[in-house]
């Protein structure tokens, strides 16, 4: 799920940036530092949409660095248990398959794949129904439901299932060609 929230961060700026463009520099550094990171609490920071407030800088003794408390608005993505996501399959093996929904990695283990889909090893390992009409392989797009998340300080990993109504392949590259 996506959220638009305000976060705060203390930015350290090197003294060489002090000058007329200090503010711009600060914002670009903030974007570089923060976008794409993941915090366990808020999820992945997808994009910074604006800077609300930059506080008074504090010069650090000895180094000359200045610390600015910066408040910024950003879009975060945080997967939740029970959430339905669309994801791209990145790897298929006997134990199940891995998929990615943006920055989030999701693992779907083989017993959470419908019973009528069988694993086919070979050049392109895939899960296929007995009549061959549905196939999950690398690059397939699947809709899945998250049934568990493991949230570390800097990482979120999910477990998904496609064993439910309306879940499964939404377009597979083989059929599209």
């Amino acid at each position: 799920m996506f959220f638009h929230i305000v976060l705060e961060r203390n930015m350290q700026l090197h003294p060489r940036h002090f000058g007329p463009h200090l503010r711009d520099k600060l914002v670009s550094k903030l974007i570089k530092d923060v976008e794409g990171t993941c915090s366990g609490r808020h999820g992945f920071v997808v994009a910074i949409t604006g800077v609300e407030d930059i506080g008074k800088g504090l010069i650090r003794e000895g180094t000359g660095y200045v610390t600015f408390p910066v408040k910024y608005q950003c879009v975060v993505f945080r997967p939740f248990k029970g959430e339905i996501l669309e994801a791209v399959v990145t790897m298929v093996n006997k134990m199940g398959f891995f998929a990615e929904a943006g920055p989030v990695q999701i693992f779907v283990s083989n017993h959470l794949i419908p019973d009528d889909m069988e694993f086919q090893s070979g050049d392109v390992p895939n899960y296929t129904t007995s009549d061959g009409s549905v196939k999950i392989q690398k690059e397939s797009e699947v809709r899945l439901k998250i049934i568990g998340t493991r949230v570390d300080a800097t990482e979120i990993f999910c477990i998904g299932t496609i064993k439910d109504d309306f879940l499964g392949v939404i377009s597979d590259p083989g059929a599209a060609v």
Binding site: K94, M95, S109, L112, D115, F157
Partner: protein, 458 residues
């Protein structure tokens, strides 16, 4: 001992259901030569249902088992939470004390081993079934069995677990990312690089080798079948659990309290006292203070007591508690507890009243008093104290000895009603025996505050 019987049945059923094929092998020696000792566990549990706290050596002797063997089994049951054990260092004297208690508890079946006088300080182990816990354990076990199957059937054990067969390290699906190997399509153990097996597969895949196409389908069938069989085979056990659910579990307390309870009763030398004390604290006594209130005290020597009391049944008007009075009942005012206040206030008056009421059966009463005074004195005094409190309300002056005498007469058939005013009894039997006076004082005070309201409702 009616109330303990369903629990014993539960234990026996559970033993046969779950511990049937537990074999107590020694750690290193395969005991094939001696024949397998499966079923031993059941025998031990059965034996324990017929005992309360028992010294393990005695039990071993009774079962003709080697004490080491027995200890191994008991340790197993302790881990399974079916049995509580207690170990203590004791001399022959203490051991005898236990024997005495055991004898008292078994109503004279001596478990005694008098040959052990010479024992110095030895560590003795005692064991006893923990009925309350057994109920929980069995219920939990069944719940887990069913849940496991159900989860597997619906694949609801959402988070798959993997286990390394070689080093037994466990992983969950959350670790999947670290476990994938790019050389083949299995997960590999981080430490020993062995291939991981999905854990829940183990249940069903044992016989059919894993990994093949139809495995999952067949597994489902097998699971369903297993589920059915569980339902079927555990039906008696489940039924018994249901039956037992609302009964208070027999509780023997810790070894010390049990011993004290039984010995205390034994020392008085009055079987009735022994039994009643056990009733009140040992068997039904639960830690919850208010359970005791509603208990029906009949079981052990109900016949005796009831028989005697029925003799003077008509003479004595019992005050029924409000909750026992129903519309259709044909009661006198006194039975309803609606006696007129002033009557109560005057001790002498009350006395006279009583005498008139019961004049006819005076002699019977005297007999009764003599016979039962010893056994029931404590209870009576306490109840009487409370009763007075209830009836007189706050007006009452601290009870004097004479008042108590009066009370004794009309309150004794309370037992018939199955009510015990026991909330205020201390748990230890010893205190009860030795500190009669103190006990009374306490009971009076507390009875005053609490019971007042109850009686005013009616």
């Amino acid at each position: 001992m009616n109330s303990i019987e369903p629990f014993n049945r539960l234990v026996r059923l559970a033993a046969r259901a779950f511990y049937d094929d537990v074999s107590m092998k020694g750690d290193n020696q395969p005991k094939t030569s001696r024949g397998d000792n499966r079923g031993m566990a059941v025998v031990v549990l059965d034996a324990l249902t017929r005992r309360q706290w028992v010294r393990e050596e005695d039990l071993a002797k009774a079962l003709k088992l080697h004490s080491k063997q027995l200890r191994r089994i008991l340790r197993f049951f302790e881990e399974e939470k079916l049995v509580t054990r207690d170990h203590r260092k004791e001399s022959a004297k203490n051991a005898k004390a236990h024997n005495a208690a055991a004898a008292a508890a078994n109503d004279g079946q001596p478990v005694a081993k008098e040959g052990e006088e010479k024992v110095k300080m030895h560590t003795h182990s005692y064991c006893c079934l923990d009925y309350a816990q057994i109920c929980d354990v069995v219920r939990y076990r069944i719940h887990r069995m069913k849940k496991k199957l159900k989860d597997e059937l619906d694949s609801r054990n959402t988070i798959q677990h993997y286990i390394c067969p070689s080093c037994n390290k466990r992983y969950s699906a959350f670790d999947a990312l670290q476990l994938v190997s790019y050389t083949d399509e299995y997960f590999h153990c981080e430490t020993c690089n062995g291939e991981l097996v999905a854990e829940s597969d183990k249940l069903a895949s044992e016989e059919m080798g894993d990994g093949d196409d139809n495995v999952r389908k067949r597994r489902r069938e097998k699971l369903k079948d297993m589920q059915q069989r569980i339902e079927e085979q555990l039906k008696p056990l489940v039924a018994q659990l249901d039956r037992v659910k609302n009964l208070p579990a027999p509780e023997f307390g810790s070894l010390q309290t049990w011993e004290r309870a039984n010995i205390g009763a034994f020392a008085i030398g009055d079987p009735a006292a022994a039994d009643s004390s056990r009733n009140s604290q040992g068997q039904y006594g639960t830690p919850m203070p208010f359970i005791g209130e509603t208990k029906v005290e009949v079981v052990i020597d109900g016949v005796k007591e009831e028989g005697a009391e029925s003799g003077k049944n008509g003479s004595e008007l019992k005050v029924l508690p409000p909750w026992m009075i129903k519309d259709g009942m044909n009661l006198t005012k006194e039975q309803r507890g609606e006696k007129i206040e002033p009557q109560k206030l005057e001790i002498s008056e009350a006395k006279d009243d009583k005498k008139q009421d019961s004049k006819d059966d005076q002699s019977v009463q005297e007999e009764y008093i003599k016979a039962y005074y010893e056994a029931l004195r404590k209870k009576q005094e306490e109840e009487e104290a409370k009763r007075r409190m209830q009836q007189e309300g706050k007006i009452s002056v601290p009870d004097s000895q004479t008042e108590r005498q009066v009370g004794k007469k009309y309150k004794r058939d309370d037992d018939d009603e199955g009510i015990e005013w026991e909330e205020h009894q201390p748990t230890g039997n010893a205190t009860e025996t030795y500190k009669l006076a103190d006990l009374n004082a306490e009971a009076q005070e507390s009875g005053d505050e609490e019971d007042d309201n109850e009686w005013e409702e009616g």
